[in-house]
Symmetry: D2
Subunit: 137 residues, 4 copies
């Protein structure tokens, strides 16, 4: 488990009041948790532009009626099997599917996998969610 | 299945050349697919600021050793059970978990669910992936 | 001038080490300045989605050879003269101009001004920079 | 002046209807202008991650009462004088100033200039607007 360090910071009074109001509305238990999250958000963005190992998810929406679509998506995922941890499928309605692929590896590879899936005919929307393996943040 | 409409557009020559090069690198089969995706990207953003029903996923990374963390996350998800379609859990390492919740409903509610999960002590990172139900795009 | 408040926060040790490294690279003089900026960034985003008065700049790149372009841009700016503080013009090369409009007012109005300028034929790119009047942050 | 190329694309009927409605609301004169802008938006993002020469503006808000602030900002700008095209200053109120610096060069250098200005004590908010020299789009 992690070790906590306590230290002091100085903030402009008006800024601190605005912040306290903001985090109360967001439901934060303490200033420390809110500040930690801002810091982590910043560092996770950095992991994604640097060469760190990252975790992320790729959310796709597609019309499964398109010919060969499901086969093509499966085949692309197999090309990236070292990267992919697991996937999850949801039937949105009669035509539309939502599929989420969880992946772990170099940011560049995750982006490439997202691009490849996105380029397939019948895929309507792809969104890459950038998160962290949690190791350094 | 969907019906296709064909129409003409005019582009600056140099712009078209840059675009063709760009979509070749991305692996797009046709200009039509690439233009469709740009349009869908724009419309999905709009669904999220308007009052439309949307689909999305919330990716969380947390340290499962924190006391009461898993109970709190489960209890929040139950408060939003009408919104949540399914969830998926991955063990990143000895300490860190990655969990993805797929949800469908008003954008405002999905954001609120994301904020609630984010405010819990021990949750390191939350990322909301905004996609579409596919109905209107 | 502003009043400073000093208070303590607790951070995970590893997170604090990563943060210290990050802000040293960015050239920050103190943790307090770095944390203030993260907080301000968060609050400025909120000013833009809430109904607050904001400040911002609209950067346009256009080809001034297009017929009536400059007249149309000027005429749109006059329709929003209550919003616009000043503007600045740069000749990028023989064809391309860069113009920046500084504006202050409701976020919704600044976005609308940006959209109107963007829709004009010959305007190649418009980017809206969201900042603050500095009053509450 | 630029040369226009006309070509055909195929879109899903429902998607085209949504798009036509969207661009009418945005005030676009033609589908061609709207599609051009989506393409340019995509390519400008790419110029910023690739090594291309870009144009951009850095918007700062600061409290000019802070000791040495204006001197420090001026001195940083001089270090980057090869990059900076011009700057513009606005008095927001008794305390707050808004200053915009227009720059042209490598994306990496513009980001570095933004970071340097941001790290100065008394600077409340810095926002980097990424646009294009217009040469290739």
């Amino acid at each position: 488990m992690s070790e906590l360090i306590r230290f002091g910071i100085s903030l402009d009074k008006k800024l601190l009041e605005s912040f306290d109001k903001h985090i109360r509305l967001k439901g934060y238990p303490t200033r420390s948790k809110a500040v930690s999250d801002l810091i982590r958000g910043e560092l996770v963005k950095k992991e994604w532009v640097g060469g760190s190992e990252v975790a992320g998810s790729i959310t796709m929406v597609y019309d499964h009626h398109k010919r060969d679509l499901v086969n093509t998506l499966t085949s692309i995922q197999h090309d990236f099997h070292n990267l992919i941890v697991s996937s999850q499928h949801v039937h949105l309605d009669h035509d539309n599917c939502l599929e989420i692929v969880i992946a772990k590896g170099k940011a560049k590879m995750l982006s490439e996998l997202g691009d490849k899936l996105n380029a397939v005919k019948g895929v309507k929307h792809v969104s890459l969610s950038m998160t962290t393996t949690g190791k350094n943040v």
